[in-house]
Amino acid sequence: MIADRLNTLFAKPWIWAFLGAGLVWLATIAFTRGQGAGEILSAALSFATFSAIIGIGQMYVITLGPGNIDLSIPATMTFAGAVSMKIIDTQDSMVVPGLVIALTCGAAVGFFNYGLIRVLRIPPIIATLSSSFLVQSSAIAYGRGLKIKPPPILADFTTAKILGVPLLALCVIGLAAVMSVVLHRTVYGKSVIAIGQNPRAAQLTGINVEFTRFATYVLSAVLAGLCGYVLSGFSGGASLNMGADYLLASIAVVVIGGTSVAGGFANLPGIWGAALFMFLLVTMLNTFGLTAGVRLILTGVIIVCVITLAGGRKT
């Protein structure tokens, strides 16, 4: 009975990401002899939140099938963060309009991305890459290289904790749950999966393929905008390189989380597991007191190894 349950549990593609995160966490606290175990977990939840937000968007895009990927996420984050923080201008009363502005920035980038893919008939990789150049430049020209401070209320909200659990992380776990329902229970979500499995068949069954693709690219960019907004609040302002680390993160959490890179099979819980794993991995390497060079090498090697193990299970 218990063996059966365990078997079904291990058959889930997302379990490996959580197991990995757990192992890395245990290795870290074994090294510190149990010190700071709770703090590390709390910090991991805080930082994983941001990778999880953009990971959800990237997962929807990747699920659309081979060749679909959004490389403009880091630029969109930076752009939405810079524009919203500058307009809010540290006034608490502007927090909600600022959020709307950040989401609008994201939506605009999403529109633009899809427009390039559709009108120029170019692969999404090239379209989102070209637009990320433009978006990044706009952010630099607009932000003028300054770190623009967030309003106090946003900073408080994004760093607030309930019994040691970050409030923002709880919100994003909620978001992930909602997006999971959208993926598996709505026409839109099922269309995304169907297109990823076979775009031709999806078209023939009457799914509006182009609209679904449009909605997905906009969704990914809107989530990147949201991430830029909350990350600006969390990290004390919008800076021009704040998106830099998130290109790898957005793709890695999707793949490590058990979503098929070939498209058509999505996995939402895995994104959280993978996001925790990525942060805990860096924490572990830091705790071991390694130099920056060795840390980067190990990060690279571990990512390639995990992808090799995770990606090879299904074609």
Partner: protein, 315 residues
């Protein structure tokens, strides 16, 4: 006859040369003094390493993959060239040969485990950056004298860069576009299954292309260090995006093994000149990457128009 000359096919082939000419004329118009040996030398100074990096990227794109780690790799090569290659040339050469083998092995891994090249190479970018930091923790080192001598050699007529770039472009053109095995290599990008059925090893082709990419990456790093004389781990990080843009500008496509070595070199030169063009226009450097994105989109739009005309004609 005339219809054959002005066919869309010819237009598409000439597009890279056309973009380069347009940007050169614009620069000469804005700054007539650039139209000299010295002026051209300054303008095209950094074109050679970028052209090599672009050729490296092109090799990977030929087999339908994408290399997001080439910039960090070129940076590592530059660091090795400024330290080991200068102090102990034998060990330096051995390390660089090892790099090329590592790239070939990467191609084998990606093919055998059917992995997404984007994630693997993005992971590898951390690996290379970490290695570069170990070799050269702070900016410094010294370029070997022979590298320096080659890179600053004064050729008659036009600067060395133009001779070297033309020679390399023609060499790769004949290797990939005119040789028998070149057809097989490009065929892997077009239809791997039929290449396999025809009795060729897809694995060997992929390893060859990745090793070639590693080789061009080494050339890029060494030529870069000859110009800058000192190295830094982050020296070439922007080459990743530049190289992709260069391949696309040069008429390469993302799928189907449709590439153009001559076009790629012209594309790399166009991107190098775009920076100077902006400064002559007194446009702030903030817009530098944006302009590269803009050029990319304009060229892709022109290509889309040509493709559509072709489709209409053939109907």
């Amino acid at each position: 006859m005339i219809a054959r000359i002005v066919s869309p096919r010819v237009f598409r082939g000439l597009l890279p040369a056309f973009s380069l000419t347009v940007i050169l004329i614009a620069i000469f118009y804005l700054q007539p003094r650039a139209m000299s040996y010295f002026g051209l030398n300054l303008l095209l100074n950094l074109a050679l390493p970028i052209a090599f990096a672009t050729l490296a990227q092109m090799c990977v794109i030929t087999v339908n993959d994408l290399d997001l780690g080439i910039g960090a790799y070129v940076g590592f090569v530059a660091c090795v060239s400024a330290t080991w290659l200068n102090d102990q040339p034998a060990i330096g050469l051995l390390i660089l040969a090892g790099c090329i083998v590592a790239y070939g092995a990467l191609g084998a891994l990606i093919h055998l485990r059917n992995l997404p090249s984007i994630v693997v190479t993005l992971g590898m970018s951390f690996f290379w950056l970490g290695l570069a930091l170990l070799v050269l923790p702070t900016p410094g080192g010294k370029a070997p004298d022979w590298v320096r001598a080659i890179m600053t050699f004064k050729t008659p007529g036009v600067p060395m860069t133009i001779y070297a770039a033309s020679a390399v472009a023609l060499l790769v053109h004949f290797g990939l576009k005119r040789s028998a095995y070149g057809v097989v290599l490009r065929g892997v990008g077009g239809n791997p299954r039929s290449v396999e059925r025809a009795g060729w090893s897809v694995l060997r082709a992929k390893v060859t292309m990745y090793a070639l990419a590693g080789f061009f990456g080494v050339m890029s790093g060494i030529s870069l260090i000859g110009l800058t004389t000192a190295a830094d781990a982050n020296i070439a990080l922007r080459y990743t995006l530049l190289s992709i843009a260069g391949v696309i500008l040069g008429g390469g496509e993302f799928v189907g093994g449709r590439i153009s070595p001559i076009g790629a070199v012209l594309g790399a030169m166009t991107l190098t000149l775009a920076g100077s063009f902006l400064s002559f226009m007194r446009i702030s450097p903030d817009w530098q990457i944006g302009a590269q994105g803009g050029i990319l989109i304009v060229v892709l739009a022109l290509r889309a128009i040509i493709n559509r005309t072709e489709a209409r004609q053939s109907r």
